[in-house]
């Protein structure tokens, strides 16, 4: 099932004639007899490759045909025909689009150099030019004023520490969450209040959608082929919020900045009764840990994002806690005992520091993230006694970039 991803990536990179040995899927979860059967499958193929060496060498020097796409298409000028044409070519997310005409794309670019490359985007390593970003932004329904934000978010995603290849190709449900900071959030209408993770706000919906379309059309992450997410996620349609500027602790960034965070969809934190910071944060910490989360297994890159609703935030602030205090509290309390961690999840293939591997006490409470600084805290949402925790995928670190005119 992963063969298509490998072949497409080799083609994209121009790697010619690399022999592949494939075995039955899945390997994980198989007992010893299943592993032995697959080992035999592999060796039989290796033997065939060796015996066909001369022929294989010829193939390895042959030119691999490359797929090309046209610069434009001509379609009947109706919403239905346009949607059908783009869906047929696997160029969109299944929802209606705005026609990316030359005039609209030029307006989106706002005079910026359309050929300027930001880098190559995995998993198919295609060139992310401003023009291609603009085409996808038009399709998503973005206003041109949002384009510098989209460009900054793509730059952030292409930072090696974000590990966009892992984010794009994994079986995990991760999607890049965009968090918009600074005055530009209000200027663009990026919503930070009631229902901010949900529908109803054009900037949130279309900016997040533009990012997804870019990941699919520029990066080439098509579900089940190059985006191998087992179940996908609603957050893969659009995932963009602003942080509230009126947070009791101030915003995470005062300036116009976008943060990309490779996260799961928000996990609800329901606490209608606590009147203290300790009560609310205990609920937050409990929500942040579970055996099925990726967080904690690949320890060095694990992060947690805590999105406090404003009422929870006020209760915590009234008890005198700073943002650093919240980070420390969650770091200290979002823990599982070793005996629970041994039950499943990724036990046995986890990537922990030496000191954690040395722990033998089953009751020892082990941290989920390396430090309090790996717990990010922002405020968003409206009235109500809910917050959320967004675990990261644990193979990607949050990256922030300034939003500047192009």
């Amino acid at each position: 099932m992963f063969q298509g991803l490998a072949q497409s990536e080799l083609r994209a990179l121009g790697v010619s004639g690399l022999p592949m040995v494939t075995i039955e899927h899945p390997l994980g979860g198989e007992r010893s007899e299943g592993v032995t059967r697959r080992a035999r499958q592999a060796v039989d193929q290796i033997a065939r490759l060796l015996s066909q060496e001369t022929g294989a060498a010829e193939v390895s020097r042959a030119t691999i045909p490359t797929t090309t796409t046209p610069d434009f298409i001509t379609v009947t000028d109706s919403p239905e025909a346009l949607l059908a044409a783009f869906c047929e070519r696997q160029w969109c997310d299944g929802l209606p689009i705005v026609p990316p005409t030359e005039d609209r794309v030029r307006a989106m670019l706002g005079g910026a150099d359309r050929d300027r490359p930001l880098g190559v985007m995995p998993p198919l390593w295609r060139v992310a030019t401003l023009e291609k970003l603009a085409v996808n932004a038009v399709m998503a329904g973005c206003e041109p004023a949002a384009f510098p934000l989209i460009v900054a978010a793509v730059e952030a995603m292409l930072d090696p520490s974000f590990n966009l290849y892992g984010v794009q190709a994994t079986t995990h449900s991760v999607a890049p969450l965009l968090i918009v900071h600074g005055p530009i959030a209000a200027e663009l209408g990026v919503h930070s209040g009631s229902g901010c993770f949900g529908p109803g706000f054009r900037a949130n919906a279309t900016i997040g959608r533009a990012i997804r379309l870019i990941l699919m059309n520029v990066g080439g992450a098509w579900p089940g082929r190059h985006d191998m997410s087992t179940q996908g996620s609603p957050a893969k349609f659009s995932y963009c919020i602003a942080e509230r500027a009126d947070s009791p602790w101030g915003p995470l960034h005062e300036d116009n900045v976008v943060t990309v965070y490779g996260g799961e969809p928000p996990h609800n934190v329901n606490d209608h009764v606590s009147t203290t910071a300790a009560g609310i944060l205990a609920t937050v910490a409990d929500t942040a840990v579970s055996l099925g989360s990726n967080v904690g297994w690949y320890f060095s890159q694990s992060q947690l994002l805590v999105v406090l609703g404003p009422e929870h935030a006020r209760t915590i602030a009234d008890d005198g806690l700073s943002r650093a205090d919240i980070q420390r509290f969650v770091f200290e309390h979002a823990r599982l005992p070793l005996r629970i961690l041994k039950l499943g999840g990724m036990w046995g293939i986890h990537d922990w520091p030496r000191w954690m591997h040395a722990v033998t006490d089953d009751e020892a409470l082990l941290p989920q993230v390396p430090s309090p600084e790996d717990v990010m805290v922002i405020v968003a949402g409206g009235p109500g006694k809910h917050s959320s925790v967004v675990p990261n995928c644990t193979f990607s670190r949050a990256v922030s970039r300034p939003i500047r005119p192009l």
Binding site: R61, G166, L213
Partner: protein, 95 residues
């Protein structure tokens, strides 16, 4: 009904290419390496393949190196070491 011209959202492939070296016709007396991708059971699979290749194909030495975790690339020193010590390397991929 009239026609409309719309731009493609699909980006162009990056240029460049790599030719893979010729694979040997036999593994007898050679050193075979595995990049263990840290997915469940890959270690067992690689060890079994290595044992069969030694027993049936005369492989001299089998080397297995583990990535830090499944989702990040192999460290450069792992790649350099395998390139130096091995005649053929199998890289584990997927689940």
């Amino acid at each position: 009904m009239s026609q409309i011209r719309v731009l493609s959202p699909v980006a162009a492939a990056s240029s460049g290419g790599v030719n893979v070296p010729r694979i040997p016709g036999s593994l007898a007396g050679l050193t075979v390496g595995f990049i263990d991708n840290r997915k469940a059971n890959f270690d067992l699979l690689a060890d079994e393949i290595g044992a069969i290749l030694s027993a049936e194909h005369g492989v001299k030495t089998v080397i297995r190196r583990r990535k830090a975790n499944a989702a990040t690339p192999a460290a450069p020193e792992i790649l350099a070491g395998l390139a130096k010590d091995c005649d053929v390397v199998f890289a584990g991929s997927a689940d």
